[in-house]
């Protein structure tokens, strides 16, 4: 335990050092996002963190569609990822794998794709034909 903990503590120390230095976060130029949509994504993530997967999964598809329409690729990918995450937590592995696969295929460069790949490796292989994703996301 301590062997594993040491690197972590080192990493934490790095993080804390950065915090203590009060470095200025250089804002990188990023795509302009809708504050409302971003807040909605935060809200959905909050629901997911509270374990309210069903509730969250019903709202994600429309949000993801909006992000896609505005070419907000990182958030679109993240939204889809969280949809797959919900399906996974709702014990719907086939659908989850399908969503994760779509994230990998459509948004391979986004941070969500890396997580989608990790989650895809964790869930068991779907044995039946996956149900179609509601919300017309396919």
């Amino acid at each position: 335990m301590w062997a594993r903990l040491t690197p972590m503590l080192v990493a934490a120390a790095v993080g804390m050092a950065g915090c203590a230095a009060q470095m200025d976060m250089q804002t990188q130029p990023i795509a302009r996002v809708s504050a409302i949509d971003a807040g909605e994504l935060e809200e959905l993530i909050g629901l997911i963190a509270e374990g309210r997967y069903e509730e969250a999964s019903s709202q994600i598809p429309s949000l993801a569609a909006r992000f896609e329409s505005r070419q907000e690729r990182p958030r679109a990918a993240e939204s889809l990822f969280w949809l797959g995450y919900c399906y996974e937590k709702l014990d719907r592995p086939a659908e989850a794998a399908q969503i994760y696969g779509r994230v990998l295929k459509d948004y391979p460069q986004e941070p969500a794709a890396r997580q989608a790949a990790q989650r895809l490796a964790l869930i068991p292989r779907p044995t039946a034909n996956p149900q179609p994703v509601p919300g017309g996301m396919d």
Partner: protein, 393 residues
């Protein structure tokens, strides 16, 4: 076969009868012949004979009449001979021309003798008849005499038996009276003994009653003492049991304490080492100018928090722990996908932390001493990482 069961003789029996007689004759060994004149040889030794029963007179009586008749006949014959001889002598004399007077006298005499002889014969016959009667009477008298003798013998025997019986009875009565007197004396002595024993028994009974009463009281005391003793024993047993339990618990506690102290020492030592490294890294990181969120992301990725949550969530015994690990998994997944260049990412993550109250919940889970080791390690790492995120905010 007995005489009563004699059956008609068969030829076999006839042959055997003759054979047996012949064999008996062959086997008979007579002694020397008797001497002439009827004198017997002196016998060397006669075996003792049983006393002969008294002879009856019957055999003699049987021949008596014949003997009497024979004697009379002989006498008559002699007389006749004498008379005849006399007559013949006279018939042979010279003057036989006519019966001489002597002859006539002799003839008369002969006739007279014949008459007397006839009378004698009659008397003899009468005597024989009388003799017969006498014989019969004698036989009868003999029989009666024999009976009388037998009865006399029996009566004497009975009298003797009666006398003996009476004497025996008298003796027995005297013996019984003596025995009875003796028994009476013994009974009196026994009664005296019994009276003495009764007095002793009464005294002993009184003593026993007194002793029983005190014994009853003692028994009550004893019973009470026994109860108290039993209660004390039970209490002692319970105390001993409790003491043993406490000792065991104390021993276990001491062992646990020793183990905990050992672990604490180890933790202190390691933590001291970690803190030293942490301090060094803390300073190095500050020099490097790494962003806090980025550093936390790296730390979380290095610790592989998300995958470990998914893996060990099933080991959680409590539902609250499982739920906590799900939250940790979600939060750290969120952390992993934050864009460090986005100025709002740190604030949104902090907001997420506040919404989920994750730090407090981690502290609560860590305070559980029965927590699984792997879960405890993961939560501790998560706490440290989140501590850096806090400072970032």
């Amino acid at each position: 076969m007995d005489e009563q069961e004699r059956k008609p003789e068969t030829r076999l029996e006839m042959l055997l009868g003759r054979w047996g007689a012949e064999e008996a004759i062959r086997g008979a060994e007579p002694g020397a012949p008797p001497l002439p004149q009827g004198v017997r040889e002196p016998r060397q030794q006669k075996p003792a004979r049983p006393p002969r029963p008294p002879r009856s007179l019957r055999p003699l009586l049987r021949w008596a009449p014949a003997a009497a008749a024979a004697a009379l006949l002989v006498a008559a014959g002699v007389v006749l001979y004498i008379v005849t001889r006399g007559q013949m002598d006279k018939a042979g004399s010279p003057d036989a021309a006519g019966p001489p007077p002597a002859v006539a006298a002799a003839e008369q005499k002969a006739q007279k003798l014949q008459t007397e002889l006839a009378e004698t014969k009659k008397q003899l016959e009468s005597s024989m008849s009388d003799l017969k009667n006498l014989r019969a009477r004698l036989e009868d008298t003999s029989a009666r005499l024999a009976n009388a003798v037998e009865q006399e013998v029996h009566a004497a025997e009975i009298e003797r038996l009666r006398t003996d019986h009476q004497a025996e009875k008298r003796t027995l009565v005297e013996q019984m009276e003596g025995r009875l007197a003796e028994l009476n004396r013994q009974a009196e002595a026994k009664e005296k003994q019994i009276a003495q024993l009764n007095e002793q028994i009464d005294r002993l009974q009184q003593d026993l009653t007194a002793a029983t009463a005190s014994d009853a009281a003692l028994k009550d005391e004893l019973a009470g003492a026994k109860r108290e003793l039993e209660a004390a024993r039970q209490g002692q047993a319970a105390t001993v049991g409790e003491l043993n339990r406490q000792r065991k618990l104390h021993s276990e506690t001491l062992d646990s304490l020793a183990e905990a102290r050992k672990e604490l020492s180890q933790m202190k030592a390691q933590f001291s080492s970690i803190l030293d490294d942490f301090e060094r890294m803390y300073g190095a990181a500050a020099v490097a100018g790494r962003a806090g969120t980025d550093a936390c992301q790296q730390a979380a990725r290095s610790a592989n928090i998300v995958a470990r949550c998914a893996t060990i969530r099933g080991d959680a015994a409590q539902a609250s722990t499982r739920k906590l690990l799900e939250t940790v998994e979600t939060v750290f997944t969120r952390l992993d996908m934050l864009d460090p260049r986005d100025g709002r990412s740190a604030a949104s993550f902090a907001s997420l932390l506040a919404r989920t109250d994750l730090r407090r919940r981690i502290d609560v889970a860590l305070s559980n001493v029965a927590q699984d080791t792997q879960i405890r390690a993961l939560l501790f790492e998560a706490k440290l990482i989140l501590a850096g995120v806090e400072n970032v905010g």
